[in-house]
Subunit: 932 residues, 2 copies
């Protein structure tokens, strides 16, 4: 049987993109669902491949016969004649492969024009200038694409005429200029190609088809396919679409426009778009005339508007997705030239999902599936007003999303004093430490010049839901002089800046921000997500406020409550420092006894805010030296204090001497000294000496506690076992808080979680402590406690030996931040500053494994942990509380691997809820695929 | 059938320790192989259990009948009568369970003595004093063990008599004193027990048997079993041995002694031991008489000596192991009381193994199996003379074995200058850095006050085979004043100290050391080991000297050649620093070009030293900031340099002024200045400024390169890919050296190994570099290179994705040092200084995983790596080059898991060879076990 190479749009299979190309299939589909599309036909990719394989460079036998047959059908459909000088049929010849490769292959417009048909076109359009403009463009394009004459030759001629006629741009060219250009162009072709421009329209067509096919192997296309790894099984050869030209510039009953079936900014179910009467699409592009909003058409061309409305309905009913379409009206006839899925912002996506479901256009699954969870971030954080155009002063890492403006302040105390006075401030530091924490509370956002996405600033800001730009290395922070330098610009304290945590940009001045809106539709959609998802979604929350906020986002429990955050609060840090400076266990226990009631109250607050959902509390994790100031800071403080001591000494001695010698002068001096910033009454030498001694002790302790690799150091359970009184205090606080809530009738489900466990005996040792204290609390409070006991799985060894560990643990929670560091042997802070960007640029890693879970490596260990853990305890509850818990692709993996829940920062909870639903949809699809 | 509870030594099954206890079984065995053992019998552990379970506290029915029957046999065998006042049979009643529990259960001697038989004993021995001494001891022991009267009561009586007779110690007591004591003791019993001391010998025996059985449940025994986790399936109940007493003090034809069947110090095949004529064992213990060497017996008692020689032969032929035995001669009859395997030093073990094999006593396998590889260390390193008694000044970690004495020096330059002058020096530092390396070469050993077993000092010293004590925290090193403080003692530069790398002890003064001996027997033994082993043994060696030395130890290849060691040598470090300070790639390449010929020469040397065996070369691994001095040191240097600059400036200015004003004075000044340590001609301001600028750049670079967790930082392949010119230079040096050797007819098998790989693409990227350079070198040198390409497996992810990595790697080498750190999330330096000792004390870890491979965790990952790697490439060559490669238990695991070779530091190669053979023997034994 002879191969069929050509399909009319009425006949081609709209699903067969491989054979017809994307554009061809789309045109077939539109035609067949009853949309008026300019008539035409497709030559298949098979024909292309046959041509490319032909050793003699011939189109396959019989192809041109088929084409001519279809041209005759086109003539019939349009009432025009191909090559007819009176009423010529013009066509476009367009490439189109199975995958979109924008601009990589060739297209020729207005084919069919020659010295005769040009007159027919003038007659058809009544627009001589347009006709010659179309003709000269056709000649250039055809010559370039089909004959290979570079644009330069034509541009030289064009420029010559422009000079001659004094035209500045193409728009200034007159009809006769264009006529002259046409002649010149024909001459260029003759000179360069050593042949005259083909006047025979079939010859034009044959050459054009070959050129389009040939462009598949053009350098651009080949490079593109290599770059984007498009293999022959994905797309092989281009189809060639021959489409009758339609013109929107044929009078006041003609026009052109673009439309969305719904408003892409709000999602409102109304046609959205703009149009121009008596114009071609290129007029819109050239910006000569301003298009009108599409609603105006209802008055101006009511019939056509009705047709357009009809088109909108048909498109949505067929594609079941908001469409972005192009149309042309030729003499009162509406043609749809192209349609594709409309790009919308997140608000519109959510609204249309919910409304299209209620309209019966989408199922709930489809309504969920069409929304990319990652795009929802714009619904949850304030962003910069996109209409405002500003140049960033500097750029750092986008460390915590959201945008904020405020006055620069360079230390936490100043942030607090200004902040409590009602000023909006941005805390700017080289890097932050736990003792800056009160500054975080008082600030709108945080900017640092050092550190990565896991730096103290970044993690704390994310937890608080405040914007943060970290590691903006271009900024030199000079705390001493209270200024920051960016190149040769200086920003002083009090100058207003704006930071954008979504991009990492830092701006001078206040840039308007747009607040997020939590719509009723979003609630509906997320409810559907929850109904679909198998994974639960919890929040990482360290305070009652965090807990309340995360409930609003839909969290059903706390997956990670970090107790060290409580240690960092300004009222506790001094006690924690006392604990660290303790000379023996008694002193340490004394400090811990002061912390106990504070921690207990924290837990009561969190339990109440989260009741009746479970709350997982992680015992102290970081190495304790993190609670001390940096050694370098202590050195500076010591220098200052010593100077202060000397000043105080000298001043006191001087004053005493003077008092003795000359009481009058003494009074004068005393008055002067009273004006000094140092209060001599208060700051006597003794006090200064005491402070000095404490700082010296802190320095000494900081040096003793210093570690070569703190990430792998004396922390987590290793610390907890060395100083059991610390964990003892925390466990006591948790269990007493539980007892207190129970007595108040509040339902609580505490889960005690031990960090950094790699050896089953570590977990066993802490369990002894928990059991002992639980008995004690039950006896003293006369309640029955129900507290689960489990562990973080963040040490590689814990994955390998999960079976042993599950004998003791009632639950696991994967800490994929640390697990990723250990699996790759990457210190995150060092990696992100030093080699990770390079690894991503060079493709050694596709993604940053700290953002997107490395499913092969880290995921392989997680899979092992889940399997081994559940072998021991089939109903072992397993979650994840690393940052990956809020990352959609990683959530999908967590679903696949059989976790029970993910836990993430509050604002990412909605994203996680949707991603959890997506995981189920994906799983169902793959099951369906397999069953086919 | 009635249970049989009693076995004569002639009848008991010598292998059934469970039933007869260890001692009982041993006595049966000795008896049955024809040794003369004092006659006796065993009451089984079953009898013990039956007694302990009896609610009425009775011995099982019929037991005493059986016992009496055996007593009658004893009477017959000895010609004495139990309770016979003329010629009494005395017995010992001894406990003995399946497992040795020394001192935990009770034993009674001389049972059978009473007011009548004491006279018979006097008659038998002709020694009244001895008889009463035996009697009073028997009364006290029996009363304590069987009746429960504390020693205190008896001691009070004893002391009273001593005071009365003026005796200072027991030896001073006269016969009549002892007689009086005996009477007093009998009185004590009567008073305390409210009954008289049992005079009936069968009553004595019954009570004694019950007491021995009862001691199984005594507090001491129960605690001991709990402590050492002895469960009932290991030992349940004690047997009770009734043995006729024999006496060595019955005249000049009697005696006692101990012997070894071969010399335990040298292994020489000669009887070794000592004896006393007419004495009991306790005389030896009491130290009253000095025993004679056993050879003296040949003259003194030739007949008995012949019997002893016969005993020696019988023991060795039966036990096929050197025996440590006790004997007593009673009236010319030699009794063997006990025998057990002799404890020997390593030299003797090796010699006896080889000789006993040639004598046909042992098979080669047995000869190998009886030597503990770990004990061989004493054969390989010098040790402190064990006869020298000294108190350590301080103690640190035993970081590199061997012992050495020398003068303290506090910096590497001084070590070099003294060392090259022929002085023996010990380099003492707070911690060492690469720029101390010339000091290592010049020193006998290294002592540091900070850092663990993996510190720079430890690792470098081990590699060089020099002793090192690291992290001796009690020592405060004061480099500035050239002294060290230990408590209030001060050690000045030049004072002689001795360090012992086997114990970590540091001594003041020179302590004699003992040099190791490499015997012919050791060579034979290791040859057998090689014939048996499946694992190959390679050495870690970084220099041609290392390579040569390790060949002497029997290495068949280099498993790890660390190229960074070459960078550290004094002639290269300045070039490496230039490379680090380079402002751009060109400058860096310029520095590398200077390093290239040096590295190439290194490799030529190593290849030649190791030909024809393979040499695995690891490309640069540590982060480059390790090649810069510490920031704190740079700060001090900068301060010094700035001061120097100011001095030079002032001096120059002054000199110039004076020259102008008063030439004569100028000359005088100039002469004075010439005497200063600063050479003003050479050290002009400009030079100082230049040095200063370079140091400033170094500081700046050190700060830029600083990392939070250097262990997980910018190092290994991550560094190699960021600066491909560094790896490029190294690869070029390796391949050019290969080509050079080939042209000289030297057989070389280089293997290029990439460190820190966790991602297959990392390995792929470096391979491109290797392939390109190989083509280049092959073309320019006109040779065909055969170079293998592989990777360290030291990143967890590499284990998980070993299948992917094996697609590129031709070999794997496990780097278990880093792998252990990553698997546990333990930074070794921090862990060993902070919490690992505590973990081992509390039993959370049984061993230090950095010394003994964690077979469950790290081993689990290795197993995964081997399995996945060989799935991809079944013939993948796999080794290990971490420190575990020299640790016997870890080597056994490497064998089990199917590695091809282990690689360890040169001096551990013999240990590894033996351990590799042991692994095979163990495997065979377990296969045999299974087949049974």
């Amino acid at each position: 049987m002879k191969t069929k190479y050509v399909y009319a749009f009425e006949a081609g299979d709209g699903k067969n993109k491989k054979l017809l190309g994307g554009k061809g299939a789309n045109l077939c589909e539109m035609t067949q669902i009853g949309l008026r599309v300019p008539p035409g036909f497709v030559i298949t990719t098979d024909a292309c491949l046959a041509y490319l394989n032909s050793p003699t460079n011939d189109l396959p036998q019989g192809l041109m016969d088929e084409v001519m047959e279809h041209i005759r059908a086109l003539e019939k459909a349009t009432g025009k004649g191909f090559g007819d000088p009176e009423n010529p049929l013009l066509v476009s010849v367009r490439s189109g492969s199975a995958l979109s490769m924008p601009g990589m292959m060739d297209t020729i417009l207005n084919l069919g024009l020659n010295q005769d048909t040009i007159h027919g076109l003038i007659k058809q359009t009544g627009n001589e200038r347009f006709a010659y403009d179309a003709y000269r463009r056709f000649i250039q394009l055809f010559a370039k694409v089909a004959i290979g004459i570079p644009d330069d030759y034509f541009n030289a001629s064009l420029d010559a005429i422009k000079v001659k006629s004094g035209a500045i741009s193409d728009i200034d060219l007159t009809t006769s200029d264009l006529q002259e250009i046409t002649d010149l162009f024909l001459h260029v072709v003759e000179e360069q190609a050593l042949r005259s421009f083909p006047q025979d329209v079939y010859e034009q067509l044959t050459i054009a088809i070959k050129a389009v096919f040939g462009s598949w192997m053009g350098k651009r296309a080949v490079d593109y396919r290599r770059e984007f790894r498009i293999t022959p099984d994905m797309a092989n050869g281009t189809a060639c679409n021959i489409v009758a030209m339609v013109f929107g510039n044929m009078g006041s009953d003609s026009g052109t426009g673009v439309g969305f079936t719904r408003d892409p900014a709000t999602g409102e179910n109304l046609m959205f778009g703009e149009y121009l009467v008596n114009a071609q699409g290129e007029d819109v592009v050239a910006g000569i005339r301003t298009p009108k909003p599409i609603q105006a058409m209802a008055k101006e061309m009511p019939d056509l508007y009705a047709q357009l409305e009809d088109l909108r309905q048909k498109l949505e009913r067929h594609y079941r997705e908001v469409q972005d379409f192009e149309f042309t009206i030729e003499k009162g006839v509406l043609y749809c030239l192209q349609t594709r899925n409309g790009k919308m912002n997140a608000t519109a996506m959510v609204r249309t999902s919910v409304e299209m479901e209620s309209e019966g256009l989408l199922t709930k699954d489809e309504a969920l599936a069409r929304i990319n969870p990652e795009n929802m971030e714009q619904l949850l954080y304030p962003g910069l007003d996109p209409s405002y155009d500003a140049k960033p002063l500097a750029t750092g890492l986008p460390a915590s999303p959201g945008a904020a403006s405020g006055k620069c302040v360079f230390d936490a105390d100043r942030a607090e004093s200004l902040g409590s006075a009602g000023e909006k401030v941005i805390l700017v530091r080289e890097e932050t430490k736990p003792d800056d924490i009160h500054g975080f509370f008082a600030s709108q956002g945080i900017l640092t010049s050092r550190g990565g996405k896991t730096s103290h600033a970044a993690v704390v800001a994310r937890g608080m839901g405040k914007p943060c730009v970290a590691g903006a290395e271009g900024i030199h922070v000079d705390t001493l002089h209270r200024l920051a330098q960016v190149g040769d610009r200086v920003v002083h304290e009090g100058d207003v800046i704006t930071i954008d945590g979504a991009t990492g940009n830092v701006y001078l001045g206040a840039i308007p921000t747009v607040e997020p809106e939590w719509s009723a539709e979003l609630d509906i959609l997320l409810q559907w997500a929850d109904d679909t998802a198998r994974l639960g979604v919890r929040a990482n929350a360290d305070t009652p406020e965090d807990a309340e906020r995360s409930r609003k986002y839909g969290a059903t429990g706390i997956g990670l409550c970090r107790t060290e955050r409580m240690f960092n609060a300004p009222d506790r840090l001094p006690i924690v420092v006392d604990m660290i400076l303790a000379q023996d266990k008694e002193q340490r226990e004394e400090a811990l006894a002061r912390l106990l009631p504070i921690q207990r109250a924290d837990f009561v607050g969190i339990f109440k805010a989260m009741s009746p959902y479970p709350v997982t509390i992680r015992l102290l994790d970081p190495p304790i030296h993190e609670f001390l100031p940096l050694e370098s800071e202590l050195l500076v403080q010591l220098d200052d204090l010593r100077e202060l001591r000397d000043t105080v000494r000298t001043a006191s001695r001087l004053l005493d001497t003077v008092r003795f010698v000359d009481p009058a002068l003494h009074e004068k001096y005393a008055a002067g000294i009273a004006k000094l910033p140092i209060n001599l009454e208060r700051l006597d030498t003794e006090t200064v000496e005491k402070v000095l001694a404490k700082r010296e002790l802190m320095l000494q302790r900081a040096r003793t506690l210093r570690e070569v690799n703190p990430m792998l150091g004396h922390r987590g359970v290793r610390l907890g076992l060395s100083y059991p009184e610390i964990y003892g205090m925390q466990i006591m606080a948790i269990l007493e808080a539980t007892a207190e809530c129970l007595k108040q009738g509040v339902e609580v489900h505490p889960e005690i979680m031990v960090p950094q466990v790699g050896i089953a005996k570590e977990l066993e040792a802490v369990k002894t402590l928990v059991d002992t204290i639980a008995l004690e609390v039950e006896a003293s409070h006369k309640v029955k406690l129900d507290c689960k006991y489990g562990t973080m799985i963040e040490v590689v060894r814990a994955c390998v030996l999960a079976g042993e560990i599950a004998e003791i643990a009632e639950f696991f929670s994967f800490g994929t931040n640390d697990l990723t560091q250990a699996t790759f042997s990457f210190s995150r802070e060092d990696a992100e500053n030093k080699f990770l960007p390079f690894y991503q640029e060079t493709g050694i890693l596709d993604t940053n494994p700290f953002e997107s879970l490395d499913t092969k490596g880290v995921g392989g260990l997680m899979r092992l942990g889940v399997t081994e853990g559940r072998k021991t305890k089939p109903d072992l509850k397993i979650g994840i509380c690393g940052e990956h818990g809020g990352h959609p692709a990683s959530i999908n993996f967590c679903h696949e691997v059989g976790l029970d829940y993910v836990s993430c920062s509050g604002p990412r909870v909605p994203i996680a809820r949707l991603a959890a639903a997506h995981a189920v949809l994906k799983e169902r699809a793959s099951i369906t695929d397999k069953s086919l």
